[in-house]
């Protein structure tokens, strides 16, 4: 591929875009719409992931101990729990500490617990944090069977709800994104088909004078790629601005904190959106010239 060929491909590709302005704008708009939606869903997923990981890190398992365990037994248990796979952190809370903490929680009304020091009803426990929410069940099962453990409790419902929520959001966004991408491909397909049709005489002549199929294809592929690229860049710009406003608004009016800043979101999705935009454009154009080059 010589330099003069490449110059020719780009010149023809851009002249196609210009001659077919209305469809060019329509295609770019559809790519913008698709990728903007894709960007919104990605931003949502990124934020939900972020919130989930914050909540996840707060989920803890509490293993209550039977009364009257010797110091040695407690140490053994501590070592046993630490050896279970997926454990991040284990802290011991003695009966006395448990009572203290309970008193603190009651605050003003701690007098209700007065006199219990002699016969402390609170059990000692281990507070266990896991490396990920997925391993909670297995860790719980492992600890339950251990000698000296009375009961194991953890926020099972919360874990499941969060996992379900992220799953549902992912599925819905995936379906919507696939639909939007298909729509964009179809619109670009039609745009390029119109230019291919407008240039059919030229293509016929090119074939007669011995142009290779790739020589004929390149300008249209470039046309499609430019549509995809332009749409993506515009979508990213719009996304950045609207996302910043949305974060500001949510923080100010609804006191939603901990949302990811726009720059982080854009950094995370930039390459993905750009590749999808280019693929959409190239796919649309490749499909539409395929038919014309069959002879």
């Amino acid at each position: 591929m010589s330099l003069s060929n490449i110059r020719y491909y780009f010149k023809e590709g851009f002249s196609n875009l210009w001659h077919n302005r209305v469809m060019t704008i329509a295609s770019i708009s559809s790519v913008i719409a698709a990728l903007f939606m894709l960007g919104i869903f990605s931003a949502m997923i990124l934020n939900v992931d972020n919130i989930v990981s914050q909540i996840e890190s707060q989920i803890e398992i509490r293993a209550f101990l039977k009364d009257d365990l010797s110091e040695e037994n407690i140490k053994l248990l501590d070592a046993g729990i630490k050896s279970v796979e997926g454990i991040k952190e284990v802290t011991y809370e003695s009966k006395e500490q448990a009572l203290e903490n309970f008193k603190k929680q009651l605050g003003d009304r701690s007098d209700l617990l007065a006199g219990l020091e002699g016969d402390n009803p609170m059990p000692a426990s281990f507070i266990i944090k896991t490396t990920s929410p997925q391993v909670i069940e297995s860790v719980v099962n492992a600890i339950k069977g251990m000698e000296g453990i009375d009961q194991v409790r953890y926020g099972k419902d919360i874990v499941e709800k969060i996992l379900n929520l992220t799953y549902v959001i992912r599925i819905i966004s995936l379906v919507l994104i696939v639909i939007l991408i298909i729509i964009s491909v179809v619109i670009i397909y039609n745009t390029i088909r119109i230019t291919v049709y407008a240039r059919r005489r030229e293509i016929t002549i090119m074939r007669y004078v011995g142009a290779t199929d790739w020589f004929i294809r390149w300008p249209f592929i470039i046309e499609g790629a430019v549509l995809g690229f332009a749409g993506t860049i515009a979508a990213l710009a719009i996304l950045r601005i609207s996302y910043s406003y949305a974060v500001e608004y949510l923080t100010r009016s609804f006191f939603v904190f901990g949302l990811l800043p726009a720059s982080v979101v854009i950094d995370n999705i930039f390459l993905m959106l750009l590749s999808i935009g280019l693929i959409i454009g190239i796919m649309g154009s490749t499909l539409s010239i395929h038919r014309f080059l069959k002879v």
Binding site: S2, S4, I205, R207, Y208, V209, G210, D213, I216
Partner: protein, 229 residues
Amino acid sequence: MIEFKGVSKKYSGNMIALSNINFFIDKGEFVFLVGPSGAGKSTILKLILKEEGPSSGEILVNGYDVTHMKPGDIPYYRRKLGVVFQDYKLLPEKTVYDNVAFALIVTGAQGSAIRKQVPMVLSLVGLSDKAYRYPRELSGGEQQRAAIARALVNNPTILIADEPTGNLDPDTAWGIMELISEINRRGTTVLVATHAKEIVTNMKKRVISLHKGNIVRDQTRGVYSDVVK
């Protein structure tokens, strides 16, 4: 140079366009392909240009086995064939110069080669002074000359013309045929499909007559005659 060996072409619906066609055209020959509409002239040209393949038989052109050619070889094969059509097929938004240069550009030719070749063929067809005109500003004969220039710019070994004078008045038609003869004298093999009785009869070249998909006559120094069998 161009050889058809037992070539048949059937279209869907059992329409027989050509049946068992055999002929050989040598390097440097000038051959007319004549016959009424539907006799198979266009089909033969399409087969030579590899727009279509035959249903059976073999076609050899320029040392290429056209029948079994790989799709990737077709463009390179076509570069050695110049084609001229009844409707010229010039691009209206390009000047004469650009129309001719286009045939070189799409083969990936260098700019220097283009700047040398295009004026040369334009002077050969007598359009040097109209190089920067648009097709709509030219007469029919001039448009056909531009199309011939485009067909010649790649230095083809064979020039194929499909009714080149079909849209032209008799005087202009003669001018075009003289130009094609001149190209033939310079060594290019020429194959012209035509209805133009008077031209064929007066030029006394080889004439292959087709009727309903069969060759009914193949004469050197032939004439155009209506054949009804």
